[in-house]
């Protein structure tokens, strides 16, 4: 059933794209794509000449019209690619728009006013600066900042994440996004976006491609394509003059065919689809780019600033090892540590129990009647008092020493020092007055980050870990995670300084952040990714917003940016390399009548001049169609050094681009002969 829906949606997408490929023929939209516009003009000219020949009964009208059809198809394929790329974004925009319903909202005169005094207005008329009271069940009408109260908010409409999040006045969790739902409690918010300017509006416009502007690289590439088109125009229009020297007359239709096969139609037709698809990949990763420029800049990044917590480590310390004191059985220590932590609900406590289970195979059940001694800031200890009088404690070193009145024996003291030196946190475990051993707590580095950073290093990207930890701890984690550098005891000012230093050294910097105090650094960075859970100041300063609030996304964004650029470069190279074969197909066909010797240039052994020209034109259109999936999916990208990437892509798209058309044109020629179409 679900599969049927999906299939229906897909076929709907394709039908829409097919319709688009015709409506996009409108010169008012087509003129913005120079290569395709030129192709369409030449196709129109060929059609006129073909029809003229048909009306006057001239021989060769069939060939002219045949060429015209394939020239038109070339344009249609390009339009189809663009329509398909846009369609995928539009589907997403429709689901977003569904959350943007018009409701009545309660507006307050000032933030502290009684909700009973609120006046009701239509949500779409809200302006920035107004105060709105919203309670459980309400849809947040537009973007705003919580000024009073606290509520849990369901943001699944935007992020797809169903667990509600807390939003409260002050601090870094005060921003509300339009389109989300208040799950419980109430808040008073100040509207921060004018109508049509909210985050949701921007997101819809972005995924729809309505605000799509050409990115800097795209403009530069377009200039090159226009330049190449212009050069080939010179080549083709001067050809009749040169040919006339030897008394050869080249039909205009042949010239048109040669021209269109030489100009870079492949990349010209797919360029905008590549761009739209790249943005779409970001949207799929739940990242919203405020401009295409930011995505390109992400591909250029040299330095990544990564927050330690959440990106590199899990964000809380976990038991790494239990080390027994002299003369103490390891099993006894594990049991004691487990008992001392059984009732401890903190992540550290749970991880100690887990560690003990790993060592013992199982952990003792909660003894009946045992009393939990919770952690307090004064005692800095927690534990369990059993009914048989045994008392288990774990806690900070000095707290346990004070409790037991003993210092750990020499060997154990050395272990404690070693743990502290390595950046970990030692906890002593005691039963009664006896110190049994030490628990080594440390920040656990997420699995896989080390290889990830190695990949980034291979790509030439430096990773810098940002942490509030002391330099000792930071150094230990940095070494373990394999980052290139770290910034310990970081303050927002230090972050900003670091970014400026890196930029002064000619490096582009990317970072992510969420707090208001991150805003200056986000604005300074070349690529700033704000967490959706963050403040609106941070979101305003950033150029990308991660809806999942997942700091590791930064790496994803860089990869998407690089893939986008690689796709463009690869198809451009392919397109230009194709010309070699096309010359060898068309030139002998044109000149062989005047100079029979030039038949040696027909190295593909094409059947006749007509079939040669037709094959080249057909190949030109078909290769465009064949590359649509590649343009939409993006060129395969494995992190590697620039030299390795260049070698690989030059071999695949450069060399391949030279060889493929020889094979393709020959194959089409064989088909044409078999079908008797020439």
């Amino acid at each position: 059933m679900i599969r049927d829906d999906k299939a229906a949606a897909m076929s709907g997408l394709y039908m829409a794209a097919v319709r688009q490929s015709v409506t996009k023929l409108d010169p008012r939209t087509l003129w913005r794509n120079p290569v395709m516009f030129v192709t369409a003009i030449v196709a129109a000219m060929t059609t006129v000449l073909g029809l003229r020949d048909l009306a006057s009964g001239t021989a060769g009208a069939g060939v002219a019209l045949h060429i015209a059809v394939w020239l038109w198809l070339c344009v249609l394929f390009a339009n189809f690619a663009e329509g398909l790329a846009e369609g995928r974004g539009r589907a997403r925009a429709d689901t977003l728009r569904a959350t943007k319903s018009e409701t009545r909202v309660r507006v307050l005169a000032d933030p502290d006013a009684d909700p009973a005094t609120a006046s009701e207005v239509v949500s779409t008329t809200l302006r920035a600066g107004q105060f709105v009271y919203i309670a459980a069940g309400d849809i947040v009408p537009t973007d705003g900042e919580v000024l009073r109260g606290m509520a849990s908010v369901n943001e699944s409409a935007i992020t797809g994440e169903s667990a509600p999040v807390i939003r409260e006045a002050g601090g870094d969790r005060s921003s509300l996004t339009g389109g989300t739902t208040i799950a419980s409690d109430w808040v008073v918010m100040q509207v921060t976006a004018d109508p049509g300017k909210s985050f949701l509006d921007r997101m819809i416009a972005l995924v729809e491609g309505a605000e799509r502007q050409k990115t800097p690289n795209e403009i530069a590439l377009n200039i090159l394509l226009v330049g190449l088109t212009l050069i080939f125009l010179f080549v083709v229009v001067t050809l009749p003059a040169f040919a006339s020297y030897s008394g050869t007359v080249i039909p205009v239709v042949t010239l048109a065919a040669l021209f269109v096969t030489l100009i870079p139609t492949t990349i010209g037709g797919l360029l905008s689809a590549i761009g739209i698809a790249g943005m779409d990949r970001l949207v799929k990763a739940n990242v919203i780019a405020k401009s295409g420029r930011a995505v390109e800049a992400a591909g250029d990044v040299d330095t990544l600033l990564l927050d330690k917590t959440g990106t590199i480590t899990f964000g809380n310390r976990q038991a790494f090892a239990l080390i027994a004191g002299a003369g103490v059985d390891a099993r006894r220590l594990a049991e004691a540590a487990a008992l001392a932590s059984l009732a401890d609900e903190t992540p550290e406590g749970k991880s100690i129990v887990e560690k003990a289970r790993e060592m013992l195979g199982s952990v003792p059940a909660m003894p009946a009647g045992a009393a939990f001694v919770p952690f307090t800031a004064q005692t800095r200890l927690s534990g369990l008092d059993l009914t048989d009088g045994r008392r288990f404690r774990k806690g900070a070193i000095d707290a346990v020493i004070r409790l037991t009145g003993q210092t750990p024996p020499g060997a154990l003291a050395a272990q404690v020092d070693a743990i502290a030196r390595s950046g970990g946190t030692p906890l002593l475990v005691a039963e009664g007055a006896q110190i049994l051993g030490v628990v080594h707590l440390k920040d656990i580095v997420k699995p896989g980050v080390r290889t990830r950073f190695a990949e980034l290093r291979a790509m030439g990207i430096r990773t810098v870990m940002i942490t509030g930890d002391n330099p000792l701890t930071a150094a230990a984690i940095a070494a373990e995670a394999g980052v290139d550098d770290f910034l310990a005891e970081a303050t927002p000012e230090m972050k900003l300084d670091l970014i400026r230093r890196e930029q002064a050294g000619g490096r582009l910097v990317a970072m992510c952040g969420d707090g208001s105090n991150d805003a200056p650094a986000l604005a300074q960075a070349d690529v700033g990714v704000a967490m959706n859970s963050g403040t609106s100041a941070a979101k305003e300063a950033a150029n990308l917003i991660d809806l999942d609030s997942d700091p590791t996304k930064l790496i994803e964004v860089v990869l998407v940016g690089k893939q986008l650029l690689i796709s463009r470069g690869a198809l451009t190279t392919f397109s230009i390399a194709n010309d070699v074969a096309k010359y060898f197909a068309v030139l002998p066909a044109i000149f062989v009548a005047a100079y029979p010797g030039l038949g040696v240039l027909n190295i593909m052994g094409l059947a006749s001049p007509t079939s040669a020209i037709l094959s080249a034109v057909i190949f030109n259109a078909l290769i465009l169609a064949a590359l649509v999936p590649l343009a939409l999916r993006g060129v395969q990208y494995k992190p590697a050094s620039a030299a390795a990437l260049l070698r690989r892509n030059l071999a695949v798209y450069g060399l391949g681009g030279m060889i493929v058309p020889f094979v393709g044109i020959k194959a089409i020629d064989l088909c044409l002969v078999a079908l008797n179409l020439t």
């Binding site: 590439l221 050069i231 790509m459 230009i576 620039a642």
Partner: protein, 555 residues
């Protein structure tokens, strides 16, 4: 043996160029010992050498200087009959020929639609042409240095001072080398005299006028400055212009010396020699390939004319190999001097020479001009392939963006415009067609060669073609202007825009612009963008001629 000779030639060339690059680097940085002379000279001319110029001011200075040079030379050529140093009483030059000749020398092309010994006075040769031989070469070198600064220097806004760069190029590089070469050539028997022609009675009793004059000095700079304009009409095939094997080798080396040195100078100024070697390697690969084709075809000869090397139009004292080497060098470097008649080379040898010129004289090329021409291809190659490593394309740490691409495309368009549009007109307009000497594709090749030579500012020709035709003298003059300034101005603009950009750090993610991979890429870019553009016309000329020759037909 052949291979060894070529290897020795290249070894000497590269060695000398490496040394010269060190000297050039010092000269352009400013040598304290020479600063006094430079300053006094320039102050005397009313120029402040310490004032650095932005790209636009630099370009204006180049254009203004060349415009004045044009004016002076044009007046001298038109009025040489009334001016001194004219022992043979040669009259003033016709307007269209003077226009063509003047542009030709100002743009470092040295296309010779005239015959030197018959149509030029000694004053025109010495004060007119030789002066331009120095300063047009100096202009190219100055522009190249400014462009290199734009690509390599630290972030700034200025490219240097044109007057200072020009003075340094002429005084400390071209002049000393020319003096040495001129003395060597005079020793080998090249005349250097202000006395008029000699009338001799031949053994058969006939009377022969033997032209002579101050040749050695002009020949030295014609080779070193990639000018190519000979003192005598038949250029270095003339026994007075190039008497011995030794003089021939010295001239061959001089043709490529400064252009090769510029590659290494680029590496030095970039602070990364590998960058210079990469550009040199790309040029050398193409040069070697072209030379191989010419060598094979000339040594093999034309079977329909009998066994042995193709000696038609070649000097017996040089033979096929030295003629092949010269032909490759003179067309690769936009020199244009000849020691054999290119018109008589085999069709595919002619094809190689046309390709060398039509791609814009970027295989070593003109002094300075070859390097900045190649940088144009570098910009395009880096932009094309640079995206494939997933970053905004960068060259030497600087991003290549819309502005640079536009300018590169504009500069690049001058080659098809000059060769294809100029050639198409010359192949159809009846007034132009009278120049063509031979029938069929060879005659077509003559047109193509002429327009490639003029656009590439080379100056050599398929000799059979009648250059002194008003349509062609005028059209070629315009095309020479296009091939020179429509490249210089955009390239200075690119340099001016590059130097304003911050230099980004080099990481393993940066696009590598040295090493075999980049060299391959650069060669392919030149061949696909440069050579392929001219594939259709080359097919109609030399390729058609070759296939017809194989079928036993000749033209």
């Amino acid at each position: 043996m052949t291979l060894f000779s070529y290897a020795l030639y290249f070894g000497v060339l590269v060695g000398a160029a490496l040394c010269l690059a060190v000297w050039m680097g010092r000269v352009y940085d400013g040598l304290p010992a020479l600063a006094g002379i430079e300053r006094r000279l320039l102050r005397g001319a009313g120029v402040d050498p310490s004032r650095d110029m932005g790209w636009a001011a630099y370009a204006m200075a180049v254009l203004a200087f060349n415009l004045v040079g044009f004016g002076v030379l044009y007046v001298v050529l038109r009025g040489q009959g009334l001016l001194p140093l004219n022992p043979d009483g040669i009259g003033g030059m016709a307007p269209d020929l003077a226009f063509n000749t003047t542009i030709s020398f100002v743009t470092n092309t040295n296309w010779q639609a005239y015959s030197g010994e018959a149509q030029l006075s000694y004053l025109s040769q010495m004060a007119g042409l030789t002066v331009q031989n120095f300063v047009s070469a100096g202009t190219g070198m100055a522009v190249a240095v400014a462009v290199i600064r734009g690509f390599t220097a630290a972030k700034g806004a200025t490219l240097g001072n044109f007057w200072l760069d020009l003075t340094r190029s002429v005084l400390w590089i071209l002049l000393p080398l020319s003096v040495v070469l001129a003395l060597f050539l005079a020793w080998q028997g090249v005349p250097q005299t202000l006395q008029g022609a000699v009338t001799a009675t031949t053994v058969e009793g006939g009377e022969q006028i033997i032209a002579r004059g101050p040749a050695a000095a002009q020949i030295a700079i014609k080779q070193l400055g990639t000018n190519g304009g000979g003192f005598f009409g038949v250029n270095s095939a003339h026994p007075f212009e190039n008497p011995t094997i030794a003089s021939n080798l010295a001239q061959s080396l001089s043709i490529l010396l400064i252009p090769v040195a510029f590659c290494f100078l680029f590496g030095r100024m970039a602070g990364d020699r590998r960058q210079g070697w990469a550009i040199f390697a790309a040029m050398a690969v193409m040069f070697a390939a072209g030379l191989a084709v010419i060598h094979v075809y000339e040594v093999a000869g034309n079977p329909s004319l009998g066994i042995g090397a193709n000696m038609e139009g070649k000097e017996q004292r040089f033979g096929a190999m030295l003629s092949a080497l010269w032909a490759a060098s003179t067309t690769a470097a936009s020199n244009g001097s000849v020691n054999a008649m290119h018109d008589s080379f085999m069709p595919l040898s002619g094809l190689v020479m046309m390709v060398f010129m039509a791609i814009g004289e970027v295989i070593f090329g003109g002094v300075g001009a070859g390097l900045y021409g190649m940088l144009l291809y570098v910009v395009l190659a880096v932009f094309l392939a640079g995206l494939m490593v997933g970053r905004t394309p960068e060259y030497l740490g600087r991003k290549i963006e819309a502005r640079e691409v536009t300018l590169a495309v504009l500069a690049f368009l001058s080659m098809p415009l000059g060769i294809l549009v100029g050639g198409a007109l010359a192949a159809t307009v009846p007034a132009a067609l009278t120049s063509v000497q031979d029938a069929g594709p060879h005659g077509f090749g003559e047109i193509l060669y002429a327009y490639s030579s003029a656009t590439g500012n080379n100056g050599s020709a398929f000799g059979g073609w009648g250059a002194a035709n008003p349509w062609n003298t005028t059209a070629l003059g315009l095309v020479m202007l296009l091939g020179r300034y429509a490249i210089i101005v955009p390239l200075l603009a690119i340099a001016g825009s590059m130097i304003r950009k911050p230099k980004s750090a080099t990481t393993s993610g940066s696009f590598p612009t040295h090493g075999p991979l980049f060299v391959t890429l650069l060669v392919l870019t030149v061949l696909i963008l440069g050579a392929l553009t001219f594939f259709p016309v080359l097919a109609l000329g030399p390729v058609a001629e070759e296939t017809a020759r194989m079928a036993g037909q000749s033209f």
